[in-house]
């Protein structure tokens, strides 16, 4: 027990590890907040110059950036309506309206506290229930991942803006964009039109930068003469009564986020969307309607996406399967240092497992400190006039799109997506479902085909498989339920029966 505690406290007691964790978390907040900079990109670059370091030092810095980055995406979502990371897409829906009401400080404070609660719940799950959750996640088959992906896309019902049809159209458009390139199973060209650049597919970060960064910049040109975006940041530390009131939702969302994060291939983005959807469905009488500044709509995704960090480490450390893109990079870091993530990691190198648990806990505590301080300095960045901010967003978007693969063509694509996003926004379409489709589309495609091959390409067998396996059955029922609740006549009936 004392030995475990010693492993846990390694980064707490070593000044250099303490400093690296703090630095990583602080940098992560800004990396996550700046549109165009991604945690994945930062983590991959960090590995390139930390591979000569001690493994603990490298992990301390990268884990700090990871924790800070997942949280940081919410900052620009709140202040600018531009999610800094995919995990903050759901956050923007209610946090920006909150900021427009002069409650930006409160929104940042609440998002910080709930992110920390979520992060700690995720770490606790990693420490206590890692083997159990990993056992559950490994039972998921291709069929279940396909269903999970479709459920993610159907969440467009929540994100759809004006109508479900527009949301579904946007989601399907995203899937189409995600299909561009060589088919990974047959190497068949899909929508490439002979272009070598298109054969590699469209990186979702490029689409995200275009649809969010460039489209938002173009849309904001209309308001160029208006006063600069000055979000009132009054009270940052949330009131105790608010924390107590939303603690239940925060904990529930954290649990959901941990579970989703533990599923390989899923991450904070899906966790946040599912938590948002859950909050919307389970909150009977929100003070403010969802989409117009409901605090529940801010709390649920923020708690969930940070909880997903701890969850993502579970399959990575116990099975060697990355929970998301960043943990995939961390697996690479562990291999570089001669360690093999998998079932034997916990028995062979328990010090490493408990070091990671302790380090993630420490990063979350630093997150609380950095999240609640220095906000006013941060907001000065977004208080700058739109005439300066808009060209700067374009430049950051361009460099972000380019840096993913050092390919200048991606700048042109981001611009094209931006123009398309601008037109769609003018006619009431949300761009969030498009990004969701780009991310989930290839995952759904691959898992559908694996499941269908497993069913010997027989639709009857495929449907029988869906209904005869407990996990698939639960997910199928959830899918059917979600679809039915989005049908116009069901929605109208719900509206009529509401007092």
């Amino acid at each position: 027990m004392m030995e475990t505690l010693g492993f846990f406290a390694t980064s707490w007691l070593d000044p250099s590890l303490l400093l690296l964790t703090a630095l990583g978390t602080f940098a992560g907040i800004y990396i996550g907040a700046i549109p165009g900079l991604s945690v994945t990109m930062a983590a991959s670059i960090l590995i390139s110059f930390t591979f000569k370091w001690e493994v603990n030092e490298a992990l301390a810095l990268i884990a700090g950036v990871y924790v800070g980055g997942v949280y940081g995406g919410a900052r620009t979502a709140i202040l600018l309506n531009i999610p800094g990371a995919p995990s903050a897409i759901a956050t923007a829906l209610d946090s920006y309206p909150l900021a427009r009401k002069g409650l930006a400080g409160e929104a940042i404070g609440l998002s910080t506290v709930m992110s920390v609660i979520g992060g700690l719940v995720g770490v606790l799950a990693l420490a206590i229930a890692a083997p159990l959750i990993a056992d559950f996640a490994i039972k998921f088959t291709s069929r279940d991942y396909m269903l999970l992906g479709i459920i993610g896309i159907l969440l467009v019902g929540t994100l759809s803006g004006e109508s479900f049809a527009k949301g579904a159209f946007a989601g399907a458009l995203g899937v189409m964009i995600g299909m561009i390139g060589l088919d990974p199973m047959t190497a068949e060209a899909r929508f490439t039109y002979g272009s070598i650049n298109l054969m590699g597919g469209v990186p979702f970060v490029v689409a995200m930068i275009g649809f969010f960064g460039v489209a938002e910049a173009l849309a904001q040109l209309e308001h160029i003469s208006a006063a600069p975006i000055k979000q009132k940041v009054a009270r940052i530390v949330p009131s105790w009564s608010d924390v107590r009131r939303y603690l239940g939702l925060g904990l529930k969302s954290s649990g959901l986020g941990t579970l989703i994060g533990a599923l390989p291939g899923t991450g904070g983005d899906i966790a946040a969307l599912l938590a948002y959807d859950h909050a919307k469905r389970s909150t009977k009488n929100p003070e403010v309607p969802f989409g117009e500044g409901a605090k529940e709509g801010l709390i649920a995704p923020e708690a969930a996406n940070n909880a997903a960090v701890g969850g993502a480490f579970v399959p990575m450390l116990t099975l060697g399967i990355p929970g998301d893109a960043v943990t995939a990079i961390i697996i690479g870091a562990l291999y570089i240092h001669g360690l093999k993530p998998g079932p034997l990691l916990l028995t062979d190198t328990p010090h490493l497992f408990w070091f990671i648990v302790g380090n993630l806990t420490l990063a979350n505590l630093f997150l609380l400190v950095f999240g609640l301080t220095g906000v006013r300095i941060f907001t000065k960045v977004v208080e700058c006039p739109r005439a300066i901010l808009i060209p700067l967003i374009i430049i950051l978007s361009a460099v972000g799109a380019y840096a993913i693969q050092n390919n200048p063509v991606h700048i042109t694509w981001a611009l094209g997506f931006g123009v398309l996003g601008y037109f769609l926004k003018r006619y009431g379409f949300q761009v969030g479902p498009i990004i969701l489709g780009v991310i989930l589309g290839p995952m759904i495609d691959a898992n559908y085909r694996r499941a269908m091959i497993g069913a010997q390409e027989n639709i009857g067998t495929f449907i029988y498989d869906l209904l005869s396996h407990p996990i698939s059955l639960v997910l199928t029922c959830a899918l059917v339920f979600m679809f039915i609740t989005q049908l116009p006549f069901v929605k109208n009936r719900k509206r009529q029966t509401r007092p």
């Binding site: 159209f169 899937v175 068949e188 899909r190 040109l221 209309e222 060209p391 460099v399 611009l415 390409e457």
Partner: protein, 158 residues
């Protein structure tokens, strides 16, 4: 977000274009591998474009149901969808992308920032120059030095 009671300028035309685009996407998806099997590369694109086509028709039907707004015609459409500022700024960004291979990323960024800030902000060219230079310096430090991104250099200088 609630659908407005009246149509926005050009909304019906836009919905029609979406249906046409979705139909084209379905045709292209069919062209990948047709109906040869249930696990071919074209199945998911056909499903996705099928959803686009179906929802596109629903969106178009909705625009046919709603009354047009008071402002109709080409001038209203141009004012709504193509304000001069958006058109000029987009052209400027397109020019920025086009000149990157010749003069490099940082000079092109500096030029874009200078022209955009000068024309959009009313503080004069000196302020625009100062902010552009400072921004390019920060971008170079952040991306070029800290993150070691190899920013594109121009063919004119090499």
């Amino acid at each position: 977000m609630k659908t407005p009671d009246t149509l926005r300028p050009g909304e019906r035309l836009f919905a029609l274009l979406l249906v046409v685009f979705a139909g084209y996407a379905f045709w292209e998806s069919y062209g990948i591998s047709g109906f040869k099997g249930l696990t071919t590369g074209g199945v998911m694109p056909m499903l996705a474009s099928g959803v686009m086509l179906a929802t596109g028709v629903v969106i178009l039907y909705d625009t046919l149901r709603r009354p047009a707004s008071a402002e109709t015609g080409l001038p209203a459409l141009l004012a709504y969808l193509f304000p001069l500022r958006v058109v000029l700024f987009t052209a400027l960004v397109a020019a920025f992308v086009a000149v990157i291979p010749y003069i490099g990323f940082l000079p092109a960024s500096g030029a874009l920032l200078f022209v955009a800030i000068w024309t959009l902000w009313s503080k004069g060219p000196v302020w625009a120059m100062a902010i552009s230079a400072l921004s390019v310096g920060v971008i170079y430090l952040l991306f070029g030095v800290v993150f070691q991104v190899i920013l594109p250099t121009g063919s004119l200088w090499t």
